[in-house]
Symmetry: C2
Subunit: 211 residues, 2 copies
Amino acid sequence: MQIAILLFDRFTALDAVGTYEILSRTPGAETVFVAERAGAVRNDSGSLDLVAHRALDEVPAPDLVIVPGGPGQHHQMENENLLGWLRRADATSTWTTSVCTGSLLLAAAGLLKGRRATSHWLALDTLKDYGAEPTGERVVLDGKYVTAAGVSSGIDMGLTLLGRIAGDRTAQAVQLLTEYDPQPPYDAGSPQKAPAGLVEEWRGRSRFILQ
Amino acid sequence: MQIAILLFDRFTALDAVGTYEILSRTPGAETVFVAERAGAVRNDSGSLDLVAHRALDEVPAPDLVIVPGGPGQHHQMENENLLGWLRRADATSTWTTSVCTGSLLLAAAGLLKGRRATSHWLALDTLKDYGAEPTGERVVLDGKYVTAAGVSSGIDMGLTLLGRIAGDRTAQAVQLLTEYDPQPPYDAGSPQKAPAGLVEEWRGRSRFILQ
C-alpha cells in the first residue's frame, strides 16, 4: 500500500512524524511525504525542515492519506490546489486520516460532512462550520475517515489504524519497538485534565496559536 | 539557550522529533538540527529526510545537547569527529541528553562512565560495555545527563526536562498544547507489558534492528 503524508508551510512536526513513525512500519507499505512542490517544507516554529519527496500530482491515488495540522493549516483552507488533491485522493483511498487541525482541511474539502470527527481541542468547534460532528475523543473512526486530536495523538491513531490494517500482533510489535509506554510527568494533556487557569489562558490565545 | 539536536544517517525520526516538539517550545530557546555536514539527513527506513541546518563545528557550545538513536547509531560508535563534538559540547553544556540508542553514543564518547542511564530496551545491556549502569526506567536523570528509553520516550523526557528548565506550569502548558494525553489502544509498550512471545521474537532479531 502507498501512504501519503501531506506537508504544508508551518505544519506541526510531531503531527506528521508521530503518525509516520508508526504507520511507515506497516508491512509492505511505501510511505511518501508530499507537498504542493517537492522540497523542504518548514514547520510552525521555523526551526525544522522536513523534505517532501514528491509534488501532489505525482501521488494521485494513495491508499492511505495522512493530513497533519499546525498553524499553517489556516492558510490552506481555501487553497483549491491542495483541497482538490485531497478530494481526488479520497475518491480512491482506503483510509483518509488527519491529526490535529488537519481535520479542518479534510472538512474544508467537504469530506467530513455529517461525520463524527475530532481535532486539536482548541479547534473542535470549527469542525461544525463544515458540517462535521466534533467529539472529544482522542481517535475517531467514522467509516474510512480517521481523525485524531492534537499533535501527539497521531501516535495513538497510528497504532489503532495499524491494528486494523495489519492485525493486533503487528501493532503490538510496533508499540514495543517504539517503546510506547507513555509516562508523562504531568497529567495536563487535555482541557479536562489540565489546570483550569491554563486552559482558559490558552483558549484566550487560540487565535494566535491556530493562525 | 541554544538546543542542538544531532542527526546522523539512519536515525529514528520520532526519537528526534518527539523530543524536539516539546523542548523547542522552551521560552527563549533557539533549536538547531546539526550533523557532520549540513543538509538533508535520511532516517532508518529511508523514506524521511530531516534537514540539518548546521554542521557540527558551527554549533560548538550548545546549552542542551539531544542525541537521538536509531539503527545508524551503530556506525557512529567509532566516529571520532562526531564523538569529539559530543565531548566538546558536553564540556560546556547545561544538559546532555539522549533518546533510545543515542545513549550508546554518549557512552562511546565516555560521558556516561559510572552513571545511571537508559536506552532502547534491546540495547540496555550494551550500556554496561561502556561503564554505564543501565536502569529500566523510562527517563533517567543523573546530574546533567538525561537519558530516555526507546523512540517515543523522548516526549516524556522533553516534558521532564522542560519542567526543570522553565517550571511546571510551562511544561504543563506544552503538554496541553501538544495534547499529550496518551491513550494507546494496546498495552504492549515495554518488554514487561508486551506478550512474552513478541518480546522473545524481537530479542532474537535485535542484531538486525540495532545495526
